[in-house]
Amino acid sequence: MSKTLTINGKTHTVDLPGDVPLLWVLRDEVGLTGTKFGCGVAACGACTVQIDGEAVRSCQVPLEDVWGEVTTIEGHGTPDALSALQEAWITHQVAQCGYCQSGQIMQAAALLAQTPRPTDAQIDEAMSGNLCRCGTYPRIRAAIHDAANRMEG
């Protein structure tokens, strides 16, 4: 099927079977590789992007079902124009191998959009689907609290 998607504010027309997951449209067709493949079964969160501001696992969204505007890590902020969340992530030196961090950040961004001052319990609830095999969780938590302060300030 041919479908036109809006990704990070730009339109892209792709011609692929409708059941191809958004993840693989982004990575192998559009060339946006910041969103990562980890498990393919929505168990790790590495592929998290936002559709109309809602955090979703892009490995579980077929192309034909994409219902809104897609934001990936590349659209969230760039090295020259970091988001407040990314600045906090850098201040706390969160990333180790870094492979899961695009997903972590897109999930955290959705959390902060909905809950500007999350408690530890709210962070647990929102972020528990995002696996990090390096175990960067303490710094993820610290960076989210820090970003909440920065965004409010």
């Binding site: 692929l16 191809v20 693989w24 990575r27 990562k36 498990c39 870094g98 492979y99 647990d124 969780y137």
Partner: protein, 746 residues
């Protein structure tokens, strides 16, 4: 190959005779410099394999796998310290696979002996022997060796480049080199004017490198300070290139399905349905499995699902119980090693109480976040491989073999690694990519495994068993007699690399058990090798991961039998043997407020393991909440002599602990019908943010030698947790994962 194989076998498993032979040969060979892999163009100066400067930029080379441990940053900081540049002035690259990038510390780690008791002299011998790593071009990232390896060599590289740049400036200005200073990437003339290094590159390129003495540690401005990671912005913005992110013009996407009965043949397959599926371009018979090449990775994976396979039988027992029966039978064989045999363990000291316990630990997968992947392009007489890997020179060798080329016809590009943990010291993923690319000359192909393929085709942490016998008397451990049985990762890996099996005692198999800094007068540790063909390999901390559990669970059992506080019991044993080990125990006692913290409904457990040159103590706290056991707090203390980057050391410590805790709670690989049963993360859970305890790390710097950081945080995690659960429940965990025997909060 036969020459490399012979040397490799001799040096990797150092026996005393081989050491002598190796030194004599190595002393001559090591003196010859390896060719500089950097080929400077006009106007560029490559002072040594680690520093390259042109008229625009300064590039430092950190030819070690950046898999999260921060090696790129700290390695660059070692060069920058002497070169007088700041890290924000330089670009750091991994560089090519090259002989010059051998790991000098890796082989030194193979020396017999406990490690912590080494004299200055034996450290010197270890360093010299380490240069044997060069003899088989062992550019390997593993064994927590990078900083030991780079600590002197990289500062020397930086100092030499600095002095050579000063020499160029001296010639230009007509002054003496000694009258010049350097600062932040520039030579400072006697009149205070600055000449940027980049301006001097062309002139410096014609000069012979100048050598220089290293600075006193008191003058360091980067080493010992927290450095912002050089990869942090890229990894925070989705712009870092991992193996799966390589994109080349005309590139195709592929995936593989190999025999899930590991090492077995494929009798046949029917791909008729796959051929007609959307996007599919090619189905390739790889002998023991199949690759599908398509226009999209997911379409390739879907087509693999549609292939019917006839798999051959596994070369090992097909069920988990039978695998462990085979491991247990190894106890009846003559031990492969008895690397410690102090006093006499055959006699129970008079008046002592005997303690015995058997333990069993499962096979484990690495489960890196980035599944196995590699990209390859075969052109006329040249193979280019892009791979997230820990062993580029081995990749070059094995991929050359697969493509029918010589090693120097292969270019290996090492990307960032989405986790390594030892899995990427293997090269299977790169060889498969090469074999697929060989079927499509001129077309680059990226081969990415599904998570299921990754989890079921690992080189697993071996399943391991222990039979421990000890004795306590007057509140002290007076005897420890342990036997460990497991497959040898070392022999298997050496067979894969060199084609020849290993021989002699395998130190890795008993590390974490024989070499612990406890003063126990009668102390013996024997290693029995299980003869099995389950693929096994190096998993973060390797032998220490299982031996550490056996040792520190059993020490805890002895402490309880002696009616002693487990932490005080350990401090006493360590104090009499090696002060830094007692130091980390005392630190966690203080940090956790060990004595005052105890209360009903809460359990505290401790463990201390010396591994990779670094003693690490961990205290884990668990609480019963709503009938479930929850990890609430963790305290870690380590002592690596010099903490080159304390904030990064802290990260490595809690990261290592999380890896160990995840395995302890949930990790197991089991077999049914010859196939691994666990397929994906739901079957192989790990710690997540809501199950992660609060953690505090203290980095001590009291010991005389530089220890490793990437792995030593892992071994104490499992026994500290199991000991905490015992403290809470009174029930001893003698097998893992804990989820089978305890109601864990998940």
């Amino acid at each position: 190959m036969s020459r490399i194989g012979k040397i490799a076998r001799r040096t990797f498993l150092i026996g005393s005779v081989a050491v002598v032979g190796g030194v004599a040969f190595g002393a001559w060979f090591v003196g010859r410099p390896a060719p500089n892999p950097l080929q400077p163009k006009d106007g560029e100066a490559a002072f040594n394999p680690f520093v390259m400067i042109d008229d625009k930029q300064i590039t430092l080379f950190a030819p070690r796998a950046e898999m999260g441990q921060g090696v790129e940053t700290t390695w660059a900081a070692l060069i920058a310290e002497e070169l007088d540049v700041t890290l924000d002035q330089v670009t750091v690259l991994h560089g090519p696979a090259a002989k010059a990038y051998y790991n000098s510390a890796m082989v030194g780690e193979g020396l017999p002996g406990k490690g912590y008791d080494n004299s200055e002299f034996s450290h010197w011998v270890g360093d010299k022997l380490g240069h044997l790593g060069k003899l088989f071009d062992l550019q390997l990232t593993g064994g927590s060796t990078s900083m030991k390896d780079g600590f002197e060599r990289m500062r020397e590289a930086g100092a030499s480049a600095r002095e050579t740049l000063k020499e160029a400036a001296a010639k230009r200005l007509g002054v003496k080199r000694a009258d010049l200073k350097t600062e932040k990437g520039a030579v400072i003339a006697p009149d205070g004017s600055r000449i940027a290094y980049t301006e001097l590159a062309a002139e410096a390129a014609g000069l012979d490198p100048v050598t220089a003495d290293l600075r006193d540690p008191g003058e360091w401005t980067l080493i010992g300070q927290n450095q912002p990671r050089t990869d942090i912005v890229a990894k925070t913005t989705g712009t870092a290139t991992y193996g799966v992110d390589v994109r080349l013009p005309g590139m195709k996407f592929a995936s593989v399905r190999m025999n899930p009965r590991l090492g077995a043949p494929m009798n046949g397959f029917d791909a008729s349905a796959a051929h007609t599926m959307p996007g599919v371009e090619k189905v390739i018979d790889l002998g023991t499995g199949v690759a599908v090449v398509a226009t999209n990775t997911w379409l390739a994976m879907q087509a693999l699902e549609a292939i019917k396979f006839d798999w051959g039988e596994a070369p090992y027992p097909s069920e988990t119980d039978a695998v462990f029966d085979t491991i247990a039978r190894a106890f009846d064989d003559k031990p492969n090693s008895t690397m410690r045999d102090d006093g006499d363990v055959s006699v129970l000291p008079e008046g002592a109480t005997e303690v015995t316990a058997d333990y069993s630990l499962p096979y484990l997968a690495h489960a890196t976040m980035e599944p196995m992947t590699a990209t390859a392009l075969l052109e006329e007489g040249k193979l280019t491989v892009w791979a997230p890997n820990q062993a580029p020179t081995i990749i070059a060798m094995k991929c050359a073999d697969a493509a029918g080329l010589e090693t120097d016809q292969v270019e290996v590009n090492t990307t960032y690694l989405g986790g390594g943990f030892g899995r990427r010291t293997e090269v299977d993923y790169a060889v498969y990519a090469t074999r697929v690319a060989a079927e499509m000359p001129g077309t680059p192909v990226q081969v990415t495994w599904s998570r299921e393929e990754d989890m079921t085709h690992d080189f697993y942490r071996p399943g391991a068993m222990a039979r421990m016998r000890g004795a306590v008397k007057d509140g002290k451990a007076v005897l420890l007699d342990g036997k460990v049985a497991a497959q040898s990762c070392t022999f298997q890996a050496m067979t894969r690399i060199t084609g020849l099996g290993g021989g002699g005692p395998d130190k890795v198999h008993v590390e974490g058990a024989f070499n612990q800094p406890y003063a126990i007068p009668n102390y013996r540790m024997a290693g029995h090798l299980a003869q099995l063909d389950v693929p096994v390999g190096f998993w973060r901390s390797v032998g220490n991961s299982f031996n550490g559990f056996f040792m520190e669970s059993f020490i805890d059992e002895m402490a309880i039998a002696a009616n002693r506080d487990p932490l005080e019991f350990r401090i006493e044993l360590a104090e009499a043997e090696w002060a830094p080990a007692a130091g980390v125990l005392k630190a966690v006692a203080e940090m956790s407020d060990w004595k005052a913290r105890k209360r009903p409904g809460r359990g505290l457990g401790v463990a201390m393991i010396y591994s990779f040159g670094t003693p690490v103590a961990e205290v884990i706290e668990v609480e019963e909440q709503d009938g479930m056991i929850r990890l609430t707090n963790a305290w870690i203390a380590c002592d690596m002599g010099i903490a080159l980057d304390p904030r990064n050391v802290e990260a490595q410590m809690f990261s290592g602990m999380v890896y160990g805790l995840s395995a302890a709670m949930f990790g197991e690989i089991t077999f049914a019908d010859g196939m691994v049963e666990q397929q994906n993360f739901p079957d192989y859970e790990a710690l997540r943010i809501h199950t992660m305890p609060k953690v505090e790390v203290r980095v001590l710097e009291t010991q005389d030698h530089l220890g490793g950081a990437g792995e030593p945080g892992t071994p104490p995690a499992a026994p500290a947790l199991a000991n905490a659960i015992f403290d809470l429940t009174g029930k001893r965990a003698r097998r893992l994962p804990l989820m089978h025997d305890f109601n864990l909060f998940v």
